[in-house]
């Protein structure tokens, strides 16, 4: 089965991101494409590149949002578009260890738009932005990692401290 046009287009748009930000390239003059893509992610904090041998499988990196315990960290994720995408949501998982009440030890994410609230009008980009927002606003009342959520409720400053430490050890290399 050929890759649906929609996936091709989404990928193109994800890859073409730098040109959506006319203010950025001014600073990247003479820079190689690698640092260029770094620049992109500095703007939106999101970067997704498909695997060459499987165009439905993406390597993703998300920057921890500012003013959150994850600030400064770069979190790696993997994303897979199943056969019936966009009718079913993409599968997505953190590869970097993260201390967060809605993300379990295997990196699985509890987010409504990835489950029941998925809509085919959503896209990879919007989903990644939602995940970035989830990092900025943990929701311990709807937990996936029970121990983390409990700690978050009992002693939030300590939990945030742990999240910061984990960010430093796992997401800043």
């Amino acid at each position: 089965m050929a890759l649906p046009k929609r996936i091709i287009k989404e990928t193109e748009r994800l890859m073409a991101e730098p040109y959506d930000y006319p203010h950025v390239p001014l600073t990247v003059f003479g820079a190689s494409s690698d640092s260029l893509s770094l620049c992109i992610s500095r703007v939106s904090g999101i970067n997704a590149v498909p695997h060459e041998d499987n165009l439905r499988y993406f390597d993703v990196s998300i920057h921890g949002p500012a003013q959150s315990p994850y600030e400064g960290g770069i979190f790696r994720l993997e994303l897979f578009l199943p056969d019936d995408y966009p009718m079913t949501p993409p599968k997505i998982r953190f590869l970097t260890k993260i201390y967060h009440p809605n993300i379990d030890r295997l990196g699985r994410i509890c987010l409504d738009v990835l489950k029941n609230n998925w809509s085919p009008a959503l896209q990879i980009r919007t989903i990644l932005l939602s995940i970035q927002a989830l990092l900025g606003a943990p929701n311990p009342d709807d937990p996936l990692a029970n121990d983390v959520a409990q700690r978050w409720k009992d002693d939030e400053p300590a939990a945030i401290q742990t999240a910061k430490e984990w960010t430093r050890t796992h997401a800043m290399t």
Partner: protein, 139 residues
């Protein structure tokens, strides 16, 4: 051809299936280390097939899924002592060439396929009468 599910998502699917106990009753499996992001090592159990020397025995096995799973089969090693031709009697390792589903591995096969196949292998007429080491002994 449908989309090729990448290793990690495939293992997550299998994990969920194993956790929910959706598979066959005679076999079960789960992640050995719940913190392992790569999900490489798994524990499996096989309930000995009825009407054989294995009846009422529970065999536990280690399953290792390499980085190229499911393109290549996992490696299986018995923890519980068992005497069948496909198992190395010194280490407990399963010889992949002697088990059809490992020898002719397909991408659709899962760890459950392997466990069921091993159980079937134990129940084969030529294997079900082989004398077994005492129950509960390990390699």
């Amino acid at each position: 051809m449908s989309a090729k599910v990448p290793r990690n998502f495939r293992l997550l699917e299998e994990l969920e299936k194993g956790e929910k106990g959706l598979g066959a009753e005679a076999c079960s499996y789960g992640l050995a280390d719940g913190e392992d992001m790569m999900m490489s090592n798994w524990n499996g159990t096989i309930l000995g097939p009825p009407h054989s020397v294995h009846e009422n025995r529970i065999y536990s096995v280690n399953i290792h899924c390499g980085p190229d799973y499911p393109d290549n089969p996992p490696t299986i090693q018995f923890v519980s002592r068992v005497n069948i031709p496909c198992v190395d009697q010194r280490t407990g390792k399963v010889d992949p060439t002697k088990v059809p589903c490992l020898a002719q591995w397909k991408r659709d096969y899962t760890m459950e396929t392997v466990l069921i196949e091993l159980r079937r292998y134990m129940a084969l007429p030529q294997h079900k009468k082989i004398p077994q080491p005492p129950e509960g002994s390990t390699f």
